[in-house]
Amino acid sequence: MTLINQDTKLCDIILQEPSTITVLDRFGISLGVGDMRIDDACHERGIDVNFFTTILNTYINENYFPQTALLAFSASKIIDYLAKTNEYYEKNVIPNIERHFAFLISKTPAQNSNLVLMRQFFDEVKTELLQRIEYDRNKWFPTIALNEYKSVGKMPNAVKDVKDFNDPIEEKIDDLINMLIVHLKGDYDHNLGYAVIFAIFSLKKDIKQNNRIRNRILMPISQALTQ
């Protein structure tokens, strides 16, 4: 998909890349977008157009990552976006996957213990993800916000150590997907099984994209702010 800009229509973005629905939701935009352009939608809601298009482009195109542009945004904007992302995982994605798993298991013959084990594995991923969200909310985000407040006017330009981390949560989600796709055995309701895998895939994509923002943008900003 080509890069979106302030003149792009919201409906065109969604039609081309439906997974952006949940990203738009984090900015308070829900379905029924009419023929509104990004510019107008942002203006109406008091959203920084630049930030909005950068986040969406980063989300849509794996290879697009305008580090300099992203590092120039205020930490509070990025925190706000990531906090909404966390909330979305907590309130929508995780319950959704659990619901699909519960359905699938309720329709699966009892002798197939495979899926029960996979659900247990997902529970582990869930616990870890919720712990991280908790830590973000109570510790990491407030600390960054406080440091940013203290250093008003002297935005850190000494940002360094920008790198990707091996995220154990992302790794486990990959494992879970592999186990479902490669190693699933026995009888199960195919349709319900596909619902589980699609739900996990969309979580994986979202986490992967947002890890890039966490690790390559917020992490270096937070380190620079404490120096």
Partner: protein, 180 residues
């Protein structure tokens, strides 16, 4: 034992081929064989080599040959971009890095019997069982009386064969398959 080790170099870059052959000779005492373009056509499986070094052109032209042998194929590259399917060796690296890399290919390629299939070897199943029971590499090495490096190789192969990286993923896999 190393003198039995059969290494084939398939590249149209003559200098790379000769350089690689002399590193094998000098650092490992292995006489690597520089093959010509007819090598693959007249290949006979009775003397299956242990390791192939190929350039990207040869690899792409003979994917059908190399894909089933990907565990023992090393792609010669000019950069450090990782390739999903094949291990790589960057010809621009300095000598000691190249020797280290070759060393890891040599130690990594021991499980030849299983390298072309995805089923786990008996040893890999044992390692998996110990991982699943919460043992760390050092304990696994002691229990099976092997070196930590060998444990790491087994783990690498487990991950490659199963597509599962995390310890909990491996543990659940072991449970699903009655290994623990």
């Amino acid at each position: 034992m190393m003198s039995d080790y059969k290494v084939i170099i398939l590249t149209s870059d003559t200098l790379n081929a000769i350089g690689l052959r002399s590193i094998f000779e000098a650092a490992f005492g292995i006489s690597a064989y520089i093959a010509d373009e007819h090598y693959i056509d007249s290949f006979s499986t009775t003397k299956e080599p242990h390791l192939f070094f190929v350039d990207s052109k040869t690899l792409v032209a003979n994917l059908g040959f190399f894909l089933p042998r990907k565990a023992k194929t090393v792609l010669l590259t000019y950069d450090h971009n990782p390739y999903d399917d094949f291990q790589t060796l960057c010809v621009g690296d300095n000598e000691s890095d190249i020797i280290n890399a070759i060393n890891s290919f040599l130690t990594g390629g021991h499980d030849e019997d299983n390298s072309t299939t995805n089923s786990l070897s008996q040893r890999e199943i044992e390692v998996l069982r110990l991982i699943a029971s919460g043992k760390i590499n050092k304990e696994i090495a002691q229990e099976l009386n092997i070196s930590i490096n060998t444990v790491l190789t087994h783990r690498k192969n487990l991950t490659a064969k199963l597509g599962i990286k995390s310890i909990s993923g491996l543990t659940f896999y072991a449970m699903m398959n009655g290994i623990v």
